[in-house]
Symmetry: C2
Subunit: 357 residues, 2 copies
Amino acid sequence: MRYCVIMCGGVGSRFWPASRSYRPKQFLDFMGTGRTLLQMTYDRILPLVPAERIIFITNAEYAPLISQQLPDVKEENILLEPTRRNTAPCIAWATHHILALDPEASIAVMPSDHLITRERVFLEAIERGFEFVESNSALLTLGIKPSRPEINYGYIQSGAPATANINRVKTFTEKPNLELAKIFFNSGEFLWNSGVFIWSGKALLQGLEEHCPEIARRFEAEPGIYCTDKEAAFINEAFPACPCISIDYALMEKATNVYVEEVDPGWSDLGTWGALYEHSPKNRMGNVTQECAIMSYDTSGCVFSESNPKKIIVVDGLKDYIVADTDDVLLICPMSNEQKIKQYVNDVSQTLGEKYL
Amino acid sequence: MRYCVIMCGGVGSRFWPASRSYRPKQFLDFMGTGRTLLQMTYDRILPLVPAERIIFITNAEYAPLISQQLPDVKEENILLEPTRRNTAPCIAWATHHILALDPEASIAVMPSDHLITRERVFLEAIERGFEFVESNSALLTLGIKPSRPEINYGYIQSGAPATANINRVKTFTEKPNLELAKIFFNSGEFLWNSGVFIWSGKALLQGLEEHCPEIARRFEAEPGIYCTDKEAAFINEAFPACPCISIDYALMEKATNVYVEEVDPGWSDLGTWGALYEHSPKNRMGNVTQECAIMSYDTSGCVFSESNPKKIIVVDGLKDYIVADTDDVLLICPMSNEQKIKQYVNDVSQTLGEKYL
């Protein structure tokens, strides 16, 4: 049967201070729509995969946020990581868990903090992807048709075609510089790496055994461990012993049965304030206000984020700035300096303590 | 005997949103010293005038703030205006009240929201002023020796000398433009109008009777009204019927027995964020932070005001801005636009309601 794994354990530090370690980006109503990114991810996949076969995997500290935001999700559908180990160990565990429920399961794995505006296009791609991996021992990833020479995404170069939309992967690339991004964009061969994967559980485990045995062997267990009351204790032992590594590095860049499905679902990883700005509706001054109350003068190209719905922001004379206000942190910085946010966070936590993380 | 009237009913709207109609500037620890401007005003005059002869006059809505900030002040020393009528009616009432306690009283009247850094110089000037008005039927005002051609203050031109430091007043002037301010500054004849007055109660009432009878007659009462339990009812009738006018317009600019005492007490009216900036200690980046926690990058010439002592401000790439953050309003605007703050306040209250005033 078809399963979905929603990964929701990230910290979203590039959106600090709106995104905080105790309430990261996926748990925020980031687009001002009334639903958090996590809720939107769940709503989106429900027409394709029934609730009982959607598995959430997150850091243990976020369990209360999930219960609060998705009260209908059963506890047994939530896997709680005892520590952070990036996506490879996370996916390995979720796959073992699902295979204990259904050894023939096919699985779509997706992040919980991305924006997708064309849901039907997305779901059709997932559906086609399931069909492909159910008849091929393939590790499939969704590749987004680029709309611009973006330097903030990794790219996937597609090779020989397998079906109308699905090709073999020639290479995965790191984030390119602008010159290279333009070449990628104009070539028509390169797609954005979305972080959405589809495979059969078996193919995934085979791939890990072959290319990342140091993770694969940590999750090997006698029958009667996964999906029993022994699972938590087993994971609390196995998980922290894993290396901290992404599924891209651990598997996708090494395996030979890797495919990419091209799709254009109106996607953004919302990875930065700049990306949020690009993908959000703007008011007539060209500012993104996320439904917060703004009175602006001579101000354009800014994104405003305000955690207090009763607070107003009065702003004059700002161009291309990020203004993110929360109960205990106010950030004001030029949009062009958003890559410095990690430095700010680091400086603040070193000077004033971890409570501001 | 000598009395002091501390006027503390102003709204301080130029410091919005730090200064709010429910907690104006004089009730704030504006310099980050641990004492509010009102408390500093009280502390300053105490060596010269004993607590029982210091009268506070303010709008009725601020009575709780005064009790809270000056718990030792007796209720009988606080006069509560039923409505706002600027300084002339305020001073007329306070004078009648004091004369009922002591018909020979001499009185220093001062605002509660100014900064004075050289207290001894200030007190010596007040002392000399008392001596002068006790032997002359004079309306005396303190004139501050200018340190720059300031365009945000009214000026007083001094005329014929009366004593070493005290001269007759030739003219009062409105705030000048820069060209005129330079002429004033270079002439050596012009002093800043401080809003601090010294006179005998009798001379003040005589002046009002002659030059502002429409106010004077409102406060005429039978004996047994002022300083009795009938005073409040009488004032609630008389006060709102007064025109709304400053003592400068109502009396000082018209009377002939007006004198000015030159003094250099390290004074600022703290009338604007810019003035606050000028008079506050700056950190090594040239920012005024008022003891709030700031992490700044490439930021200079700014003033930061933060009502929440546990909140931090992280700011990058601002030059010469005001950033004033409170629980329900965040203001960011160029220092050079501070005269627009009244417009912001107006726009906000018209759009979002008076709760933001």
